[in-house]
């Protein structure tokens, strides 16, 4: 019999620490699959954020660095610039990337650093217990917005893909989602393209993946998929925002 689907080679055997149904695991697996597909396990360097996915280095069987909260894009810049032969990516949550790390992601994108960013937007601070993120939906209750996010005082959610794609420097910027098989397949395509651009030394690549946090949303995993679809999708449209072929 032939195995047509199983845990990719580039992952360790460890069972993740993620909550049941948390889509971080799906994103991890796809990144590992791509590393397998491209056969670049021995020249890949990942950068872990601070966030639930800080332990991604436990699961990915490649060289890894753990960056300070929000600073993975700067950290990756340092490494990629001195070792351009490596395939470098950061894996970051929305608190990490869209809040404390805003300057670092924008400037890495603007310099056109030749690495890939996997951005997990789950509209919340997962690891620290469900505080409001810049990406939290209007009205969404979190531990620091107990009455729901008030756009008059906290503003509207930040759309990183839209913002980054205004930069003039060529880049690949795309948003996909992890809430259905179809969307996961699209996510995989986006990730593959992103790494491809890096392999071709073309440009900075940025893949935003809408993701769920059943625990801090307080919804079952399957219910979370639905919540994502109903609440996040309308505000965070999926699709390619920018490619290096633009202009």
């Amino acid at each position: 019999m032939k195995t047509i689907f199983t845990r990719p080679d580039s992952m360790t055997e460890k069972v993740t620490h993620y909550c049941p149904g948390c889509t971080h695991g799906v994103a991890h697996r796809m990144v590992a699959e791509i590393i397998d597909e491209f056969g670049i396990k021995d020249r890949t360097l990942g950068f872990a954020p601070v966030g639930c996915s800080v332990l991604i280095y436990e699961y990915m069987d490649t060289d890894y660095q753990q960056a300070a909260h929000g600073r993975a894009p700067a950290c990756a810049t340092g490494a990629k610039r001195v070792r351009p032969e490596l395939i470098v990516y950061t894996y970051q949550g929305d608190g990490d990337l869209a809040s404390i790390g805003t300057a670092e992601i924008i400037h890495a994108a603007n310099r056109g650093e030749k690495f890939t960013v996997v951005f997990i937007n789950n509209a919340i601070y997962g690891m620290t217990g469900g505080q409001m993120a810049p990406t939290t939906m209007p009205g969404q209750r979190t531990t620091t917005s107990p009455m729901g996010r008030d756009v008059l005082s906290a503003g509207h959610p930040i759309r990183m893909s839209e913002m980054l794609s205004t930069l003039r420097t060529p880049a690949y910027v795309v948003r996909a989602s992890l809430h259905t098989p179809y969307n996961i397949i699209q996510s995989k395509k986006a990730l593959r393209q992103a790494f491809q651009y890096q392999m071709d030394n073309r440009c900075f690549s940025f893949v935003e993946l809408l993701s769920t946090c059943p625990t801090n949303w307080g919804i079952t995993p399957v219910g979370s998929n639905k919540w994502l679809e109903e609440n996040m999708l309308p505000y965070y449209p999926l699709g390619v925002f920018k490619t290096p072929d633009d202009e």
Binding site: M1, K2, T3, I4, F5, T6, R7, M11, V15, T16, Y18, C19, P20, G21, C22, T23, H24, G25, V26, R29, T180, P181, I184, I185, K188, K189, P214, T220, P221, V222, N225
Partner: protein
């Protein structure tokens, strides 16, 4: 015939796979696994068409799909 296997002790009982399977192959057990979760298992294995939907939604890499001979590729993934 495709074969779907769930690694019981990797499973965290999220039900994503059950929800994703177009064939109703999978179901949640009434037992708990060694982590204390109700796990998913192929209740109707013969119905499986090897589409891998269950596997691609599984965040825990608990599902392995095998096939005899060649398999129709439903999508490029």
């Amino acid at each position: 015939m495709p074969s779907v296997k769930v690694d019981k002790d990797r499973c965290k009982g999220c039900e994503h796979c059950v929800n994703a399977c177009p064939q109703g192959v999978l179901e949640m057990s009434r037992d708990i696994n060694n982590k204390g979760y109700f796990y998913s298992f192929p209740k109707n294995p013969h119905k499986c068409i090897g589409c891998t939907m269950c596997a691609i939604v599984c965040p825990d890499m608990a599902i392995t799909i095998k096939v005899h001979g060649t398999q129709y590729k439903y999508f490029s993934y």
